[in-house]
């Protein structure tokens, strides 16, 4: 072994790392690879991660539509099944965004292969962005799938597609971020399942997916307004019908604020290495 040669090696590492542009390019590749790996992960098991939730969404529509089409008119002049479609799309979108990041993280933690993303020079922001964005992508694939199939049964009008996109994006991002938090905090599958069953499920179910909150008693109506998921669904639905329970701008403000808050928590956890870099 040759000391000079080795110093040259050490030097080479230092020098090529110095130009900010080269560094930026290299971390861009790192982020892109992690995103690619996360997308590949759910894509390779698409039957379970995409086809299954699409089927679930369709089943909800068939059953609830069948039972309620003749009896309920949530919005004036709108058939119940058509009213239900945006809610189901949003619910699938939210649940799958959460499922994606949280199950990826908990699996990697339990399998021990999280070490492969902890050893490389990835920053906490790259880590955050890759997990959040891959969750948004999966949510969109599922959401579009649910819309495509349920739309065949009862197609709602699309009055303001920009609102649809904005609320879809913000909702998926927030749930992807919540999934990151749940994945970091949980040590076992059953802890994650508790998160999913006792927080995400009730919050989405009670957010007005299946009904307009105007049909609720004042107490439940007030309670619904404390649920950020309600604003996601309501704003999303506004994009379809041009009518909603609250002003879409108010929903936008609540949803954006919730996303920023959860993102700040997740980024802080990642920056401090909480539970990941003991």
């Amino acid at each position: 072994m040759n000391q000079i040669e080795h110093n040259a090696l050490a030097q080479a590492v230092r020098l090529d790392a110095l130009p900010a542009r080269a560094q930026l390019a290299s971390s861009w590749v790192g982020f892109r690879t992690l995103l690619y790996k996360e997308v590949l992960r759910f894509w390779k098991v698409a039957f379970q991660t995409i086809a299954a939730p699409v089927l679930t969404g369709v089943l909800y529509l068939l059953v609830f539509g069948h039972v309620l089409d003749q009896r309920v008119e949530a919005f004036p002049g709108v058939r119940y099944s058509a009213f239900l479609v945006p809610g189901l799309v949003m619910m699938s979108l939210l649940q799958n965004a959460f499922a994606n990041s949280s199950s990826s993280l908990i699996q990697s933690k339990i399998m021990g292969n999280l070490v492969f993303v902890l050893l490389p020079p990835l920053s906490h922001l790259e880590f955050f962005a890759a997990y959040a964005l891959s969750s948004v992508l999966r949510a969109f694939v599922v959401g579009i799938g649910v819309f495509a199939v349920t739309g065949l049964i009862a197609l709602p009008p699309v009055n303001a597609p920009v609102w649809v996109l904005v609320f879809g994006l913000l909702g998926a991002a927030m749930l992807g971020v919540l999934g990151i938090i749940a994945g970091i905090v949980s040590d076992k599958f059953d802890q994650l399942a508790a998160f999913q069953n006792f927080i995400i499920m009730p919050a989405t179910f009670l957010s007005g997916v299946f009904y307009s909150v105007h049909s609720l008693t004042p107490f439940w109506r007030t309670l619904s307004r404390l649920n950020p998921f309600f604003y996601m669904i309501d704003g999303f639905r506004y994009g379809f019908f041009g009518q909603s329970d609250v002003d879409p701008w108010q929903s936008l403000a609540v949803v954006t604020a919730s996303l920023l808050l959860t993102a700040a928590i997740a980024i802080r956890m990642l920056a401090s290495g909480y539970k990941l870099r003991g």
Partner: protein
């Protein structure tokens, strides 16, 4: 003085109930083949985890080729390849996908040439497109080594790389690691097989209860127990004046420690005079295991945290 490959200064790692590392300082020069030994729970893996950024030290500072592992983690991690102790893998991917992805994490895009070389060197060619799940334990171990090398790190850390690995792979692995060392890579090794450490490492640190209790070139460490071990099988009692030299006895077999080869003669003479007939005799030197056991029994116990 050159930049050290690895430097740890006063590294402390405290957990709520235990101090895993207690002011550990060491300096590993570029190109060294360095051994980190110690019983289970001594703090070897904790030290490696801090070095790799998997754990943060409670206090103290660690650098890789001069880069602080916290402050300049990007540069430090690019210089470092770690083969983890646990046999971990990602079941979603094939061997080649695993290596490409790992390479990408380090910011390397067009790295297929080197990936092919690593695959060939570790004899993974026939399994390159197999899913990780389908691989045997030994093969998974090789992929872990390949993953650690995918960004050509100048400093390579192997944490118990041969645990549960068959003889053939072990030898192949050592050959490859030796070559990497010859090519200029610094190697840090932890192992339970002291024989391996003795053969491979030019310098060894021994950890006990979170403290370094010995750190010397391997030959100096072995010279500490210089002297000769003499195994005797006697018919008749051992002459009483030899009893202080006995370090082991089972039945009529005695292992004696003598300071110098020339002293063997006086032992034999004592036996002859006492008419203790020597039925069998063997002369040996201390090996790393003896040194290890001695160092470990001399070292103080863990301080209460």
């Amino acid at each position: 003085m050159s930049v050290p490959a690895i430097e740890a200064r006063d590294v402390v790692k405290r957990y709520p109930r235990v101090t895993a590392l207690d002011r550990v300082s060491l300096r590993i020069e570029p190109g060294e083949f360095f051994g980190l030994l110690g019983p289970n729970g001594a703090g070897k893996t904790t030290l490696i985890s801090i070095l790799a950024g998997l754990t943060r030290a409670s206090s103290g500072r660690v650098t890789v080729l001069g880069h602080d592992v916290v402050g300049e983690y990007r540069l430090a991690r690019r210089c470092l390849g770690v083969v983890p102790q646990e046999l971990v893998f990602d079941p979603f991917f094939s061997v080649r996908e695993t290596l490409r992805i790992q390479s990408g994490y380090f910011g390397l895009k067009h790295n297929d040439g080197w990936i092919d070389e690593v695959i060939a060197n570790l004899d993974l060619g026939s399994k390159a497109d197999a899913n990780m799940r389908a691989l045997s334990g030994g093969m998974k171990r090789r992929v872990l080594v390949a993953q650690a090398l995918v960004h050509r790190p100048p400093v390579i850390v192997l944490d118990e790389p041969t645990a549960g690995v068959d003889v053939e792979l072990r030898q192949g692995l050592w050959q490859f690691v030796r070559r990497l060392n010859r090519d200029g890579h610094t190697i840090v090794l932890t192992t339970h097989y002291l024989e391996e450490a003795q053969q491979m490492c030019s310098r060894i640190a021994m950890l006990k209860a979170g403290r370094i209790v010995a750190m010397e070139p391997t030959r100096d460490l072995l010279a500490r127990l210089s002297g000769v071990q003499l195994m005797l099988k006697l018919s008749g009692a051992l002459p009483p004046q030899l009893e202080p030299k006995v370090i082991e006895q089972s039945g009529d077999r005695y292992v004696l420690k003598v300071a110098h080869p020339a002293d063997v003669e006086s032992v034999l003479a004592a036996c002859r005079i006492a008419s203790a007939h020597i039925e069998d005799i063997e002369v040996g030197h201390a090996d790393l295991e003896d040194v290890f056991l001695q160092v470990m029994s001399d070292a103080p116990q863990r301080a209460v945290a």
